[in-house]
């Protein structure tokens, strides 16, 4: 019984961390129509920043700064934002296709750097141990409390994005996304708005990476696999409903439950089949993305129509 409960807590914690990433992507794609396929890069940047700043001194990687965990998390948002800014500055003048290609490039390049610069990141051995909040408390209680922390972070990001979406800034974002020409004619600075949304989204992804590295207590190149850090997040957002923050959270938790549920199923298979079946799960992720795009492109929770009623009554 206790085992099942702890398993559910674990799945919920990871689902919550994915919800942070999905909310970040929603700020890119959902609000502003920016195709960021390099989530893994910003996620890894955040994770390594926090890991380096908070972990104990070691000869195997850069560390020993011993900063408090919350400061590591804040710093991770900053570094992810600093990397996102020039990329956005260069690509956002052009159509979103270029951003898609450039973000694939920057993510692969960042992963290459993190894998090879062992003096900084420990190379393929990774960084461990990364401190987690409530270390040294009763382990079961600590699990619960960490889930609570993750839930609070999700809530904070959610509220901030909701506030942004319903503010004049959010209205302007949708205008830029849905009719760039009209928004431009109204004198809106499209490039600057897009850049804000891009950097904001990437900072949230960096935060997601930081929380992940604290949770795992170990962070290495395998954790930055674009399958887990990029594609899964895209599926979560598209399935949950792009443009809808609640949909982003719902999609993240739902897809993570499905993903970890199928892992249990393949666990029962003999070894030879199990390794193949792991890739079959990936195939199904791709297929599910196609099915959602075809049959329910608005996702489970469609984008809310902000302020339409008041607009009509005022008109």
């Amino acid at each position: 019984m206790e085992g099942i409960l702890l398993y559910i807590v674990g799945v919920l914690t990871l689902g919550g961390i994915y919800a942070i990433l999905t909310l970040g992507l929603n700020a890119n794609w959902g609000f502003t129509g920016l195709l960021n396929i390099g989530i893994a890069g910003f996620f890894a940047t955040g994770a390594y920043t926090s890991a380096i700043l908070t972990s104990p001194d070691s000869a195997l990687y850069l560390g020993g700064f011993g900063l408090p965990i919350w400061l590591g998390w804040v710093a991770s948002m900053l570094t992810a934002g600093i990397i996102a800014w020039p990329i956005g500055k260069i690509c956002l003048r052009l159509r979103s296709d270029y951003l898609a290609i450039a973000t694939i490039g920057i993510a692969e390049l960042l992963r290459l750097v993190y894998r090879n610069e062992a003096w900084m990141t420990g190379g393929s051995r990774g960084i461990t141990p990364i401190p987690r909040p409530f270390d040294g408390w009763d382990p079961i209680l600590a699990q619960f409390l960490f889930l609570l922390v993750v839930a609070l972070v999700v809530l904070a990001v959610y509220l901030a994005l909701e506030r942004a979406a319903t503010s004049p800034w959010g209205r302007m974002m949708r205008a830029v996304r849905d009719n760039e020409l009209a928004a431009n004619a109204m004198g809106k600075d499209i490039e600057a708005r897009r850049l804000e949304a891009f950097v904001l989204g990437c900072m949230i992804m960096g935060l997601g990476g930081a929380v992940m590295s604290s949770y795992l207590k170990f962070f290495g190149p395998d954790a930055t696999d674009p399958l887990l850090a990029t594609f899964l997040v895209w599926l979560m957002l598209i399935l949950g409903g792009s443009g809808n923050n609640r949909g982003a959270v719902l999609g993240a938790i739902l897809v993570w439950f499905i993903w970890s549920g199928t892992e249990i199923v393949t666990g029962f298979l003999p070894d030879v089949l199990a390794s193949r079946a792991a890739y079959l799960r990936v195939f199904l992720i791709g297929l599910l993305l196609q099915l959602v795009l075809r049959f329910r492109p608005e996702g489970l929770l469609p984008e809310p129509l902000h302020g339409r009623k008041s607009g009509r009554s005022a008109g």
């Binding site: 290609i101 390794s275 890739y279 993305l289 795009l293």
Partner: protein, 296 residues
Amino acid sequence: MLMEFLNFYLIPGIVLGSIYALGAVGVTLIYGVLRFAHIAHGDMMTTGAFLALVFVHGLGWSVPVALIPSIILTAILAVVLDRLFYRHLRKGAPIVMLMASLGVGLMLRSAVQVIWGVDPIAYVSGIQRPVVYGEFRIFTRHILIVVGALVVMGGLHLFLTRARLGKAMRAMSDNPTLARLSGIDTDRVVMATWVIAGGMAAVAGVFLGMDGHLHSMLGWHVLLAVFAAAILGGVGNPLGAMLGGLIIGVVEELATYPWIGTAPLLEPTYKAGVAFAILIALLIWRPTGLFKGKVL
């Protein structure tokens, strides 16, 4: 010193560049006709490479012969994928097709991983010796790749400039509305685009496999270089894409040459960064590419 430069840097660069060129032409054609960046192109190369493997290992055919069924099967696959996953999205924003291609790429890659596993496989095992002329040395496979790429691209150029369907493709790439109004069968043009892009992706994939090992990430790893090549040549411009591919391939190899002192100018591990640097430089200074292509 000169011979070393030629044997170990320039020739591999031209070989790699020919492969990039084959991929970039496909990407540029798909963009021209269908208006989206086809992210699954790298994985389509991988699929083509592994389809050829079936004939090499299963039936004992030589790689150049196995290339033919691989081209046909990959072309058919490209058309089928279009029918299943892209056709119904054509009415909406093209950017959604880009996202669908992300999913298609993932499906192709994982299908390869399910069927053939993740360990590297070679078409032909054993060490291949180069042909030596004095100090100049060249591998037979390198000659085969460059000549093969030239033949394929020459054929494509003739098709685009002489054949009715090829001209229709160019017309649709230049001005889709005008093309439709002048009675061009758009469905046929779209199908032809997928057949050509798929077939050329198969050639590129098999050549990549010949020059190294086959593995499930084969195409994904060159995707960025292929896109950089297409943009360098001007998106929608097949001749430009060929030249763009060649330039990127040669620059990638030459960047690791010890130009200053004895250490490589760029650590070979970071070779992948060259294409990215070129891409960023292009986006800053010349998004139309060298030959005034479109800007997406």
